[in-house]
């Protein structure tokens, strides 16, 4: 087990190192960020001074070396654009994204798996057919369009929910969260639905496919022969057996949504990290881009690691395979 952890840890460090090099050199190849943000009446001297202040006049390898040295001391640098430490900047936005993503991914999973099991358990009923038809929509309609339609329908025409923004927040452990207030929840609703649609469709399909396969296996036959009720069979046996792919996808989706909820955050003016990274790319705010992508790499490695551990807990086959 320890070997496994060390191996994963080294893997994470490698991924993050490669990521930092790619981003660092990639951004450099696009051009000088100063030329995007400099005001039009700056003189040559002022431009040179601005470049020098950001350290962009040094050779690239030296800039990278300085960055790595600072990183090893726990300093990820300061944003060119906002002039605050990058970690503080990302940390300030993370709660907004976190609550939005957790709410949408978890509700998509709970609802999607329930509907999917039903659709797999009674594949021929009209309800199942409706569920499957709707799930096709979830896959095929682009999320920015759905977002705008949601706004148009629920905010503009009906006026039930706000069109964007984060609403009231309360401070918990020094960070602002929207979900504990009714007003905050009303602001979360539309972006969460927007984010959840695709995942909901995927969860339905995964759960249905798994259910149909498992229902035909001997496990279910023996369970029925043993006189277990259908509800117990579904809960105790089926759910466990179909959960491996679902957990894998849950983890990956959680990671990718956390990292790249950009479209939804932009349409709903949700001040999260997705919007931060897109803004940073637009002005080549390199410290933010590098730090953010390193954190994302770290996030994915962590999630994969946790998923592996959860597999072992849930599925006896994995557990015994690992210990053998």
């Amino acid at each position: 087990m320890l070997g496994f952890v060390i191996q994963r840890f080294l893997q994470a460090v490698m991924v993050m190192a490669v990521m930092s090099v790619i981003v660092f050199f990639g951004v450099y190849a696009i051009g000088n960020p100063i030329d995007i943000v400099i005001p039009p009446d700056a003189t040559q001297e002022i431009r040179a001074e601005a470049i020098r202040r950001l350290g962009l006049d040094r050779p690239l390898y030296e800039q990278y070396f300085i960055f790595i040295t600072n990183l090893l001391q726990g300093d990820m640098g300061r944003s060119f654009v906002y002039n605050v430490p990058v970690l503080e900047l990302i940390g300030g936005r993370l709660p907004a994204t976190l609550e939005l993503v957790l709410i949408s991914v978890i509700s998509a999973t709970v609802l999607g798996v329930t509907l999917g099991i039903y659709a797999g358990y009674r594949p021929d009923s009209w309800v199942s057919k409706t569920i499957m038809a709707v799930s096709v929509l979830g896959f095929s309609v682009p999320s920015f369009w759905v977002g705008l339609i949601l706004i148009l329908f629920f905010a503009v025409n009906l006026g039930w929910l706000p069109a964007g923004g984060r609403g009231e927040t309360v401070l918990i452990w020094g960070t602002a969260w929207s979900f504990p207030t009714l007003n905050g929840l009303s602001h979360i609703a539309l972006p969460a639905i927007n984010l959840a649609l695709f995942k909901l469709a995927m969860m339905i399909r995964l759960a249905r496919a798994g259910t149909r396969e498992i229902m035909l296996t001997d496990t279910i036959k023996f369970a029925r022969a043993a006189g277990l009720s259908e509800a117990t069979i579904l809960r105790r046996h089926l759910l466990k057996l179909i959960s491996i792919p679902i957990i894998t996808v849950f983890g990956l989706e959680l990671g990718s949504t956390l990292a790249f909820a950009v479209v939804t955050e932009t349409i709903f003016s949700w001040p999260g990290v997705g919007k931060l990274i897109i803004d940073s790319i637009a002005v080549l705010d390199r410290p933010v881009m590098v730090a953010y992508l390193i954190l994302v790499a770290f996030l994915f490695v962590t999630i994969n690691f946790v998923i592996d551990l959860v597999f072992a807990l849930i599925d006896p086959r994995v557990r015994h395979g690992a210990s053998a």
Binding site: I30, P39, P40, Y82, N83, R93, A155, S269
Partner: protein
């Protein structure tokens, strides 16, 4: 916000008086961009300055048409070749009750070069050599040589409190002090309450404001970058006014009785720029072979391009009417705009003849680059240009790209023919001609944005002379002459002046559009 959503239809049934009474308390503005920090000296970005103007005052004020007016300074005059005297407004108080005086101005000027970010505010004080306090309400500002446009430079010189900001004036501490509100003490019409980066800036009225009391007790400035979302927020009643309505939405709004749209002229003019170097990278013969010389160095080719552009169509079709044909790099009426410059005539036949005369009967091929995400309509104008030029024989490959890629490449002089907008934010010509039309010469600090290596010795001479003329009449004539010469050379070809659209709940607000496109709560009043 929930309250407003519920209240809007209710107020409707109760009648107009109730609606005005309710909205007289709070103004919620949905704006495209926000400040990058609440330190007014950090960035020269337009949206940054716009937000700062709510909390802080500038030394010199720029009015609706960008004319300079007294701000925290009541009067100014040059007292010798390199000294300006500024008289300050007496009796002005900061939000914390302390008095405003010369010390705060000196502190602010000296603070700028220390704390500025990459969108450098150093431009506002670039001509300042030193500041002498004569008495609490008189300052002498010594400049490096004659600085005729110093008052224009000061229209975005925000004055912070020398006491409140004393501890927050290093690059490391500045943003922290201002973002938390500790140093966010100004003399402006509104006081800081709270700010979420990229979210809401909440302000409350400064009852002791020297211009008088604002109409709104509370102002909320919401950042909503997506154009459709901003409009949706307005329609849903979440906000009272929005800026930067897109031209497509503008057409739809004209049929919508619940929303008022207000159109204002913008300072931004789209200029086509033609590389003047001997060798230029992105031009070739129709068959793909190299040309002997850069065709853009030939005045006949440049005239042909000018005559190939149908500016009326650009405005009416491409911009949906939201613009005006342009014949020079500044809007009419600005200090240094020249009324005698004729509007270029659209004449594709003449353009073909000119190309033949210039020795290109077959035309040639060029890659045109433009920004696609910076100003309204930039990509569409680019495509229009491509078609118009191709029609007269200049095969034009249109590349409308992100400003993130465009500006660094433009600065590396990668392009032969390119177009982007330029806004004369100070309202006078030294800003525009000094940056674009003078040959790029760091010695005299001019021509920093001349990315086509345009050089006309006569223009250089006029611009250098103009920068030193203290007499406004003489200076104006000099810049007008320079403008005429630059436009006659047609290395810069102005195409259209853009217009900006604001939208508000119908019949609720009174608001006069500003040339610099700022949306300022103090100058927005409830409809009477």
């Amino acid at each position: 916000m929930m309250n407003r959503t519920f209240f809007a239809p209710l107020a409707f049934t109760l009648g107009l008086t109730a609606a005005v009474a309710a909205s007289a308390q709070t103004l919620t503005m949905g704006v495209r961009g926000g400040p990058e920090s609440l330190d007014p000296h950090f960035s020269a970005l337009g949206s940054h300055a716009e937000a700062a103007k709510h909390i802080f005052d500038t030394l010199v004020w720029s009015g609706t048409d960008l004319q300079i007016e007294p701000g925290l300074a009541t009067s100014w005059k040059p007292i010798d070749e390199d000294t300006w005297e500024f008289k300050l407004r007496e009796g002005v108080k900061f939000h914390d009750g302390s008095d405003f005086d010369a010390e705060d101005v000196k502190f602010s000027i000296e603070r700028i070069p220390v704390v500025t970010g990459p969108t450098t505010t150093a431009i506002y004080v670039r001509r300042v050599a030193s500041v002498d306090i004569i008495d609490p309400y008189t300052l002498h500002i010594n400049t490096d040589g004659q600085a005729a446009t110093l008052p224009n430079d000061f229209i975005r010189l925000f004055i912070v409190s020398s006491d409140a900001a004393a501890d927050y004036s290093t690059p490391e501490t500045a943003s922290q002090g201002f973002n938390s509100g500790a140093a966010t003490i100004g003399t402006g019409p509104y006081k800081f309450v709270s700010w979420v980066p990229n979210g809401d800036l909440v302000l409350e009225r400064n009852d002791d404001y020297w211009r008088g009391m604002g109409a709104w007790e509370t102002v909320i400035r919401k950042e909503i970058p997506n154009d459709s979302s901003r409009l949706a927020a307005l329609k849903a009643g979440q906000v009272d006014i929005i800026n930067y309505v897109s031209s497509v939405d503008y057409l739809a709004l004209e049929r919508d009785a619940s929303i008022d749209a207000v159109t204002g002229d913008s300072v931004y003019i789209m200029n086509l720029q033609l590389d003047q170097r001997e060798e230029t990278p992105m031009v070739r013969a129709i068959d793909g072979s190299d040309l002997d010389e850069n065709p853009f160095r030939n005045i006949l080719v440049r005239q042909a391009i000018d005559q190939a552009i149908d500016r009326e169509t650009m405005v009416d079709i491409v911009l949906e009417g939201l613009g005006r044909p342009a014949n020079q790099m500044m809007p009419p009426g600005f200090f240094g705009s020249n009324d005698s410059i004729p509007m270029s005539e659209y004449n594709p036949d003449r353009a073909r003849e000119l190309l033949t005369e210039a020795g290109y009967p077959e035309g040639f091929e060029v890659d045109l680059y433009c920004t696609a995400d910076r100003l309204p309509g930039d990509a569409a104008i680019c495509q229009g240009l491509g078609q118009m030029l191709t029609q007269v024989g200049i095969k034009t490959n249109v590349n409308a790209i992100s400003r993130t890629v465009y500006f660094p490449a433009q600065a590396r002089l990668d392009y032969s023919m390119f177009m982007n907008g330029w806004g004369t934010l100070t309202g006078e010509a030294s800003y525009t001609l000094g940056g674009l039309a003078h040959s790029n010469d760091p010695e005299v600090k001019l021509g920093a944005f001349n990315r086509i290596q345009y050089a006309n010795p006569e223009v250089d001479m006029l611009l250098q002379a103009g920068a030193k003329m203290m007499d406004p009449v003489e200076r104006r004539a000099t810049y007008e002459e320079a403008m005429e010469k630059v436009m006659a050379d047609k290395a810069y070809i102005s195409i259209v002046q853009l217009q900006t659209v604001w939208a508000a709940q119908a019949g609720m607000l009174e608001f006069e559009p500003r040339f610099d496109e700022d949306t300022l709560a103090f100058f927005i009043t409830p409809a009477s």
